[in-house]
Structures are given as structure tokens and as C-alpha cells.
């Protein structure tokens, strides 16, 4: 079937098999490979992206893209970690800076092997959109669906807490 999805602001259209998962549409059709597949039971969250369905308003909400058909995202918008950084230095209005959540993961050593990272960052972005100043417990609960095997979550939690003020400021600004 023909599927058209706006991915990170760019419209991507393709004829895909009906059963094509959104994560494979992103990786194989849109050639955006940051979003990883870490399991086959919707357990690990490595494939987390933001999705806004056709006609929905707002910035989209986090979904596990291994459990969404590309067809379900038809006409909608998807943001992956590749679309998160502010526009590059060479682009109009761009600064080349990382999103505050990405910058905080860097500053707080919130990643090691990097495989869970794109999904973890997107889950954190989604959390801070819903809850701009979460407690540590709220961060931990919000990230329960995202597994990390390297960091023990310690620095991930610190990164999300550290990013919260900057994310709020960015929204207001």
C-alpha cells in the first residue's frame, strides 16, 4: 500500500507491504537508522519515536515504532532522534546545537554503547513535554518501558532531571 509520512519535517512516500512496521519504514524507506530494534515484544523501547497522527494537534506522543504499522502513521508526522537537534549551523535559523535532552545525556554520561539511546532520548522528550518538572521517581516510572543494559539508569535519570529546566525554557522562548 502507499504510505506517506512526514518524518522529521520531510515527506516520505513509498509503496510498502501492508505489514510493514513503522520502525522498518523509518530505517529502510526513510534511511534513518538511529531508531533501533532491541526486542520483539514491545518491551525494550529502543525504537521509541514521537508520532502525531493525521489530524492530531501538538508535538506528538511517544510510541514504540516496532508496534505501529507504517500504515497507521499514514498522513501523520514522526520525529526521530535525527530530527531532534536544532537545525544545523548552515541552515536558516539554525545553531547546530543539540536538543537540551541530547545535551544533558552528553553532559551527564547518560549513554554508553548508544543502542538504547535514541529511544531513551525520545521517551525523555515525551516525558518532559507532559511533565516539565518531574521528580526522580516520576522520571524512573516514565522510563520503565525503555531498557538500558549499560548505565544502570543512574546517569540517564540525572540527565532527564538536568534537562528539564532547559526544555521548559526552550518551549517558552
Amino acid at each position: 500500500m502507499k504510505v506517506t509520512i512526514t518524518v522529521n519535517g520531510n515527506q516520505v512516500a513509498a509503496d510498502v507491504a501492508d505489514r510493514t512496521l513503522l520502525v522498518h519504514f523509518l530505517r529502510d524507506v526513510a534511511s534513518l537508522t538511529a531508531t533501533n530494534v532491541g526486542c520483539d515484544s514491545t518491551s525494550c523501547g529502543a525504537c521509541t519515536v514521537l508520532m502525531k497522527g493525521a489530524g492530531e494537534v501538538g508535538g506528538g506522543k511517544s510510541v514504540k515504532s516496532c508496534t505501529v504499522l507504517a500504515a497507521q502513521a499514514d498522513g501523520g508526522e514522526v520525529t526521530t532522534v535525527e530530527g531532534l537537534a536544532m537545525k544545523g549551523a548552515g541552515e536558516a535559523g539554525g545553531t547546530g546545537e543539540m536538543h537540551p535532552v541530547q545535551a544533558a545525556f552528553h553532559a551527564e554520561h547518560g549513554l554508553q554503547c548508544g543502542f538504547c539511546t535514541p529511544g531513551m532520548v525520545m521517551a525523555a522528550v515525551s516525558l518532559l513535554a507532559e511533565n516539565p518538572s518531574p521528580t526522580e521517581d516520576e522520571v524512573r516510572t516514565a522510563l520503565e518501558g525503555n531498557l538500558c543494559r549499560c548505565t544502570g539508569y543512574h546517569n540517564i535519570v540525572r540527565a532527564v532531571l538536568a534537562a528539564a529546566p532547559a526544555v521548559s525554557e526552550r518551549r517558552v522562548g
Binding site: 537508522t33 515484544s41 535525527e82 522510563l143
Partner: protein
């Protein structure tokens, strides 16, 4: 001031955070543009004879390019027959090398006529895309004639069913030492107990993955491994190829934890199939494949016996290990060897006995997992210390203090043959107890007990010493070149998969040469560029690979000194390197400064290059103490870890950010074993935890933030004073957490609960317990 020891954030991160890593499945290279997908057909039976294979339907399915079985494997030479009397030949000898035993116990690449575990590769389906592969794999028809499944240590030892023809038992290795109870004579108190160190899934977030292309006699092979060069060695042997015609590349690797040391049969098959079919191929396993196909870890049954005086001095200790190695003995000789080597832990105990056996069972093969034999040793002795403390009615921390090896006894030779280099074990214990507020915790525990609170407090203490770089003699390589533009490139034989090698190696170069980290490129994991190397395991990287980089920097520095002396027409002895600005100058005269670019340009092509194969190190012995604090809901058995305080001393710290990250991750995996994780099989050998919906991988909600106490006791084994930190967290955290859970309910008379201390186990222990220790029994629970 040197950059070493300062908090430097990672150079690896911006790429991983903005465009993501490039793991095997992400490779979009021209060489792999037409790569077909491999889907394995795996045994659904734990133990069965293969009586028929029909691949016709699969071959005709859409997108199928080939279906390969053992019948297609006509291009490989079978291994030579084993020496009679050797382990491989069915004999039994002590110990072993960290290599498969082979011979009668050998593991085929594809199943031949028999399968020995659920998940064993039987056939390969090659398709244009992975969706087609899953469909076609369902159409491969294999006839199985079931055989009795051998499950668990008791099953392996107590059954007439043998896994391997020509053998007379399921015990490939028996160390043979006899128990001698004389060592316990003179003890006021002796405790003996059999405990389980359960089977775990290493579960790196990226599973196994490989891609291969065979062109003009040359194999290019991309693989998710901890060791590119070892992988090349394995491939050359398995495929009968010259190593020089194989190029192994490790792109980004999404975690390893020991389960990606080298490559296993599935990954070898990817290369074989690429040669066989003449096609570029890629295999990326699913998580359900990973949980049964990647090696598991731990899986020991241990009988511990400890005895000592009523005033707390331990006089004798015995550890009898039975290692469940799964269906094929891969590192089987080696894991219990490490467990026995480290059996006595950080204690000064005069009489120690160890014994080990390795058994084969119809389960996934067991190999290294974060700690690889050492967490098992620590778990045993730390349980034993608590059992002994309970027996004589002494505080567990006090019993440890009385028995820790004192600082004036180093280097210390243990009764089991290890020589501990440096340590200050008592100080580490005291630091952690102070940071945890141990006395206050005990007071709060007493208050809750007195009030009969539903939430009881448990405090677990575990002191440990571990061995890192146990195979230091194998060494590690580094090549360093400073280029005409003043930048530098490091080629390392060590292998990164999350640890931060690139950051640390660049720090070592900046520290010695004054070339800014931003100008230092680190390259690893490409055997064309780095033909010799060992890679990463056993917490060896910094003390071997890092020291190699350090030594290469020193060599380059001396080369540069000669060149600069020539440029400045000064005596070499009169020159100095200002590492602050990266300039060579006549001592005390900054005006004469020559930059690295100047010096390297003057030196000409390959002028400033050093290659070091560092084999001068020896094993080092990091140590520390962990204190875990848990709350146990006595009505439900639910355990919550509320604090985890640790001192982990791995010698000099090069980058606290990285060292803390290693400790955090290690602690989480240790806590996961104590509280949650276990690979389970039913009596027929069916995995019960074969997906992430069943396997209880630990999440953020089950952990607190950790409290890390610093401790740095440099080693004199290597010039950086460093030891390994990769596994210490796991080694200390597992027993500390388990001890805390048992401590929380010890006033009910409970002395032991096996891991994982799940709510059902803890609840069963509580429901069977009454003060004074009367009550019922259940498996894994005792008093």
C-alpha cells in the same frame, strides 16, 4: 595540570545522540547494498534426533534465494580426531583453557543428526528481506525424534541419558580434589549449605549481528563483537582460510558483557554462507533468538562450608562448584577455574579447599557474562560469611573486618594460587559503612522489628576482591602516529562497545604529548588497519590497551625530542615539551617553541610513529565493599532496593566519569541477578523466559540512584597504576543485595533465600518462618 583524573565527557556521544550509532544492521555500504538476509531455523526441541529434513517448500517461497543445511556443508574439513585420554577424547583432567573442549564434546556449526538445546541452529534461510525470511523459515520441515532432556545440575548427574556419544558421563571436566574435613577441626562453629547462582541472559541491547561479503578470495566480515582480531582467528580456523584474506570490521557494538567475546557458530555460519552462495549476506538476530541463542552466564550450583571461632575468626572454607555449561562446553573449563582462584575473596583464611565439575545439559551454552566466574566466587564467600556471622551471632560487617587481609600483608598470596597486588580492604569497608550510616541503619532496623512493621529493613554487606586482566600475558597493541598537521591517530587492538575507549585513549595522548583530545582520532576494530590485537574482556582494556597507548606516546615523545633538537640546534637534554600548549622548546625559553605540526612535518612521512605490543602487565586485583539497603514487604514478599552504597577501588582513575559509568552499570546488573533475573527451563528443556516479556530485565523503576564512595589505591603492576573497573560493580552488588534481602527477614529465623529473591520466594520464606527458625521449607529457601 594533566587531564588524567579529571571529569571529561565522552567524545563518542554527539554522534550517538544526534544521528545514532552505526551498528551492523545500520551499515548502508555499497558492499552490502544487495545483501540478502539470513534467518535461522532453530531447534524447538531440547534434545532430539533429526530423522528428516524437507526444505522444498521453503525453497519455493517468495523471496527465497537459498536454504542451507548440514547437507550443504561439503566445503569444510572436519577437525582432527582428539588425542586419546585428553578431555576432548573423553578423558577427564583438571581445569582447562578458555577454549571449547572439542573432540567427543564438540559443537557442530549446523546440527548434524541431533539437537541438544532449544535454539540450536539447524538450517539457514536466505531471502531478499527479513519478513520473507520469517515466513520461509516456518516452511522448513524437520523431523525430530525426542530424547529425554537433561536439565539442571541434578539432572545431568543423576540421569542415564548422555548428551554425547562415546562419553560415559555428562561431566566433561572434573577437577577431582577430594574434600578433607580435617580443615574444620578446631572450629567452634561450622556451617554448610548448597546455594544456586542462577543462569542469566547477558542481553546486550544489540543482539548478535554479522554481515559478510566474499569477493575474489577475500572475505570482508562486519560483526558485533568485543574482539575483531580473535574473530578473524576463529573464522580462519573454521573456514580453512588464511587470516590475511579475511578482513574483520567491528562497527558500533551495542553492548557485549562477555557474551560477544569472539564469535560463535551462528556468526561463523554467516561467513560460511556468504562464501557458499557468493552473495553478500546479513544476519541480525531477534531478541527471542538472542535469549536462547546467545550464550548465558553464571549457572553454578555451589556447596559452601565455612568454620571459625566464636569470636569471629574464620579458620576454614570449602567451595565445591558444579558448573552447568549448557549443551556444549565452550568456556567450561575456565569459568569454575576463575571461581576457584578467587574463592577465598578478600579474607585471610588459612585453610581453603576448592573443587569443581562441569556438566552438560540440554540448555543454551554458558559462557562469560560480566565477571565470568568471579561474581560466582564472591557470591559464595559472601553468603558464607553471613551464614557464619549468623551462626555465631555477630554483626556481618564486624565478621568481615576481623577477617579482611590487612594492608601490611600485600602482595598477598592466597591458598588458591592468586597473588593480590595492592589493597586496603579495611579502609574501603569502613568508608562505605560510614557513608551508608551503618549504625543508624541497624538502629532503624531494630526499631522496625520491635514495632513489627510491614516494611522491614535489610542491610547487606559484601566485600570483594576480583581479578582483572587475568590473561595479561596476551597483552595489547597500540600504534600512534603524529601527522604533519599536528593531529594524531591511535590504532588500538582494544575494542570499544560503550566503555569510552576513544575518550580515554585521547586523554592519555593529550596528557603525555599535549596534543588536544579534539585532534586525536582513535581507530579500533578493523583487522586490515590493526592486524594484531586482543580486544576487550576481563576488565583488561585500560591496564593493557591504555598502557600500550601510553607507552606509544612516550616513544613518539622521544622521537619528537630528537627531531626538535635537530630543528632547534639544541641538545636533546635541553629540550622540554610544554604539554599545556603542545610545543617543544629549549628549556625555559617559550620563544623557541615548535608545534607538533612543525616537528611532525620536519620528521617527514612516518617520522613520528610508534607501535607497542604491551605484554608487561600482570593481573591486578580491584577490591571494595558494597552496602545494599532494602525494604521487604513482609505481607507480599516484595523487595525494594532503597539505597546502594559502594567503594570500588580499581587503582588510579583516569576519568571519573567513565569509571562511575562502569560502576553504575555493573551495580544494576548485579542487583538484577539478586532480585529479578533468571533464565528458566521446564523439565522438557523448554525455555520459560525466552522473550523480554518473560525475562525480568531490570528497569529504572527497580533501582535507586547509587551512592559511590571514592577509593584509589594504585597498583605497581603497570605504569598508570590502573586496574580494571568493568565488572567490579556486578561482583559486589549481587551478594550485597542478596544479603540485604535475607537480613531483612533474618529475625524470622531465615538464613538463606536463593537468587533471584522474587516476591514468591521471599513470601514463601516468610510464611514458613516463625521466630526461632521453625517452619516449613521450600526449594531455594532455608533456615
Amino acid at each position: 595540570m594533566s587531564i588524567l583524573g579529571t571529569r571529561v565527557v565522552r567524545t563518542e556521544d554527539p554522534r550517538l545522540l544526534t544521528v545514532g550509532g552505526t551498528y551492523v544492521d545500520d551499515l548502508r555500504l555499497p558492499e552490502l547494498a544487495d545483501a540478502a538476509r539470513i534467518t535461522f531455523v532453530r531447534s524447538p526441541m531440547a534434545h532430539a534426533r533429526i530423522t528428516g529434513m524437507d526444505t522444498d517448500a521453503a525453497r519455493q517461497a517468495p523471496g527465497v534465494l537459498a536454504v542451507l543445511t548440514i547437507r550443504d556443508m561439503d566445503d569444510l574439513t572436519p577437525p582432527p580426531p582428539p588425542e586419546p585420554g585428553s578431555v576432548a577424547g573423553g578423558g577427564q583432567v583438571d581445569e582447562g583453557a578458555p577454549l571449547p573442549i572439542g573432540g567427543l564434546w564438540s559443537e557442530p556449526l549446523l546440527a548434524i543428526d541431533r539437537v541438544r538445546y532449544v535454539g540450536e541452529p539447524v538450517a539457514m534461510v536466505i531471502t531478499s528481506d527479513s519478513y520473507q525470511g520469517e515466513d520461509a523459515a516456518e516452511l522448513v520441515s524437520i523431523d525430530y525424534e525426542p530424547l529425554p532432556a537433561v536439565i539442571g545440575v541434578g539432572g545431568a548427574l543423576g540421569t542415564p541419558t548422555l548428551l554425547f556419544d562415546g562419553t560415559d558421563s555428562n561431566v566433561p571436566v572434573d577437577s577431582g580434589e577430594a574434600a578433607d574435613d580435617a580443615i574444620f577441626e578446631g572450629c567452634d562453629a561450622v556451617v554448610e549449605r548448597t546455594i544456586v547462582n542462577q543462569r542469566l541472559a547477558p542481553m546486550p541491547l544489540e543482539g548478535r549481528a554479522a554481515a559478510a561479503r566474499f569477493d575474489d578470495g577475500k572475505l570482508t566480515y562486519w560483526v558485533s563483537t568485543q574482539n575483531a582480531q580473535i574473530s578473524r582467528f576463529i573464522l580462519a580456523g573454521a573456514l580453512g582460510m588464511d587470516p590475511g584474506s579475511i578482513r574483520v570490521i567491528t562497527p558500533d557494538v551495542g553492548g557485549g558483557f562477555g557474551a560477544k567475546v569472539g564469535i560463535d557458530r551462528d556468526a561463523i555460519l554467516v561467513a560460511w554462507a556468504a562464501r557458499k552462495t557468493g552473495r553478500a549476506l546479513r544476519w541480525v538476530e531477534t531478541r527471542s533468538e538472542n535469549l536462547v541463542g546467545m550464550t548465558h552466564g553464571r549457572a553454578q550450583e555451589q556447596t559452601i562450608k565455612i568454620g571459625g571461632t566464636s569470636d569471629g575468626r574464620v579458620l576454614a572454607y570449602r567451595l565445591d562448584v558444579v558448573q552447568d555449561t549448557g549443551a556444549y562446553p565452550r568456556m567450561s573449563g575456565f569459568l569454575p577455574f576463575l571461581t576457584k582462584l578467587m574463592a577465598v575473596g578478600p579474607y585471610d583464611i588459612a585453610n581453603v579447599q576448592t573443587k569443581s565439575r562441569v556438566v552438560v545439559t540440554n540448555t543454551t551454552p554458558v559462557s562469560a557474562y560480566r565477571g565470568a566466574g568471579r561474581p560466582e566466587a564472591t557470591a559464595a564467600i559472601e553468603r558464607a560469611m553471613d551464614l557464619f556471622a549468623a551462626e555465631i551471632g555477630m554483626d556481618p560487617a564486624e565478621v568481615r573486618r576481623k577477617n579482611l587481609i590487612p594492608p601490611d600483608k600485600f602482595p598477598y598470596s592466597t591458598p588458591t594460587g592468586a597473588t593480590y597486588d595492592t589493597g586496603d580492604y579495611v579502609t574501603a569497608l569502613d568508608k562505605v559503612l560510614a557513608a551508608a550510616g551503618y549504625a543508624g541503619l541497624r538502629a532503624e532496623q531494630a526499631r522496625r522489628r520491635e514495632h513489627g512493621d510491614v516494611l522491614q529493613l535489610g542491610i547487606g554487606v559484601a566485600s570483594y576482591v576480583e581479578i582483572t586482566a587475568a590473561d595479561a600475558a596476551a597483552g595489547e597493541t597500540a600504534r600512534l602516529a603524529v601527522h604533519g598537521d599536528g593531529t594524531a591517530t591511535v590504532y588500538t587492538g582494544s575494542s570499544a562497545h560503550g566503555q569510552g575507549h576513544h575518550t580515554a585513549w585521547a586523554m592519555l595522548v593529550e596528557s603525555e604529548l599535549g596534543i588536544p583530545m579534539a585532534d586525536v582520532t582513535v581507530i579500533h576494530g578493523d583487522t586490515d588497519l590493526i592486524p594484531e590485537g586482543v580486544g576487550t574482556y576481563a576488565s583488561r582494556s585500560l591496564q593493557l590497551g591504555g598502557v600500550a597507548v601510553h607507552k606509544a606516546a612516550l616513544e613518539v615523545k622521544e622521537q619528537a625530542r630528537r627531531v626538535a633538537a635537530d630543528m632547534l640546534e639544541a641538545a636533546e637534554a635541553d629540550l622540554e615539551l610544554d604539554t599545556g600548549r603542545g610545543a617543544w622548546q629549549v628549556r625555559g625559553d617559550p620563544g623557541t617553541g615548535r608545534s607538533w605540526a612543525d616537528v611532525a612535518t620536519h620528521a617527514g612521512a612516518d617520522g613520528l610513529t610508534a607501535y607497542v605490543q604491551f605484554t608487561g602487565g600482570g593481573a591486578t586485583f580491584p577490591f571494595g565493599t558494597h552496602v545494599a539497603v532494602v525494604e521487604v514487604d513482609t505481607e507480599t514478599g516484595k523487595v525494594r532496593l532503597i539505597r546502594h552504597v559502594t567503594a570500588d577501588d580499581a587503582g588510579t582513575v583516569v576519568n571519573p566519569v567513565l569509571a562511575e559509568g562502569q560502576r553504575h552499570g555493573g551495580i544494576a546488573q548485579g542487583v538484577a541477578q539478586a532480585l529479578l533475573e533468571e533464565m528458566l527451563y521446564d523439565a522438557d528443556g523448554n525455555p520459560l523466559t525466552g522473550t523480554l516479556a518473560d525475562y525480568a530485565a531490570i528497569t529504572a523503576t527497580e533501582l535507586p540512584s547509587f551512592e559511590l564512595v571514592n577509593s584509589e589505591t594504585p597498583t605497581d603492576i603497570n605504569p598508570l597504576g590502573v586496574k580494571g573497573i568493568g565488572e567490579a560493580g556486578t561482583i559486589g552488588a549481587t551478594p550485597a543485595t542478596q544479603n540485604a534481602v535475607i537480613d531483612a527477614v533474618s529475625h524470622l529465623g531465615i538464613r538463606h533465600i536463593d537468587m533471584p529473591t522474587t516476591p514468591s520466594r521471599v513470601w514463601a520464606a516468610i510464611s514458613g518462618a516463625t521466630p526461632g527458625g521453625q517452619g516449613g521449607q521450600m526449594k531455594g529457601v532455608s533456615r
